[in-house]
Subunit: 165 residues, 2 copies
């Protein structure tokens, strides 16, 4: 294993180059429902490209839980749209992303959510597949629904290892 990376806590600032953290962090933008509910308004930069054939949709994913250390040998990206992962549980999950370097993934980074965060990956961001760390690995996914291909996969020459930070 040539490369080992440590997880870092997911923060809006640390994740900004890859997308947005979806969470009730800081002050709400609005208080609604007679004071009983805070609304953090419009927290994701949804982007389904200029292609008018794409639209926003909600899907549900149920993924097998993984363990740390986790060996990752494949990254993927969606050139036509952003993709948000909203956990339907309060368990932390692993978010692996990488910057683009001339069309292939650069050095990957691994973030660990705090159990009250989702993420929205910006359009075209390299990322690992969905990696819950506990069962059930249930997520709502808000991404592009459309008729054209929207997946690029990149098989790494060898896996990198993600360890608890």
């Amino acid at each position: 294993m040539d490369l080992t990376i440590k997880t870092r806590p997911l923060t809006a600032q640390g994740f900004a180059r890859f997308g947005q953290v979806l969470a009730a962090e800081g002050h709400p933008d609005k208080i609604i429902n007679a004071g009983l509910c805070g609304r953090w308004h419009d927290v994701a930069s949804l982007d389904f490209g200029a292609d008018t054939h794409g639209r926003c949709g909600i899907s549900v994913f149920l993924a097998e839980p993984r363990d740390l250390p986790y060996d990752c040998a494949l990254l993927e990206r969606h050139p036509e749209g952003s993709q948000a992962f909203i956990p339907m549980h309060a368990n932390p999950f692993l978010v692996i992303v990488a910057p683009d370097e001339h069309g292939i993934p650069g050095v990957p980074q691994a973030f660990l959510t705090n159990g009250a965060q989702g993420v929205n990956l910006a359009r075209g961001i390299w990322h690992g597949v969905l990696t819950p760390l506990a069962a059930p690995g249930l997520f709502a996914v808000i991404d592009r629904i459309g008729p054209t291909p929207n997946l690029q996969e990149y098989a790494l020459p060898g896996p990198f290892r993600v360890v608890a930070g």
Copy 2:
């Protein structure tokens, strides 16, 4: 209290006239990620109206938990868009809806989720405010982001009571 209604378990069939249940129920539409993830594809009928000023957005709500019995005296609806509630936890929550009868709410119904379900309310459906039954009442909400008013409230002549079914 003139009207008392009992909660019913949330099912796709029972909820169909009001919207969609967002859940990993039945067989997935696709298996992805080398067999490790099921995808229930495009499960919500998102509808942001013909008004081109509206678009889909993700917000985060944090609501105070309520208890059963729960007295409800106000219903609301969003004439310009559907509204999806995705729990970011595994606790059941209460979903109160009512059919429309000539512009005002008809007899309400109360559904209780099973801890692994969200809902998408169809555009214009009368509903109660977000009512988690446990803390933290954290939800992702996928609804219409737009510049025009999108809320009608209806104060009932008196409250109705929701009790555990």
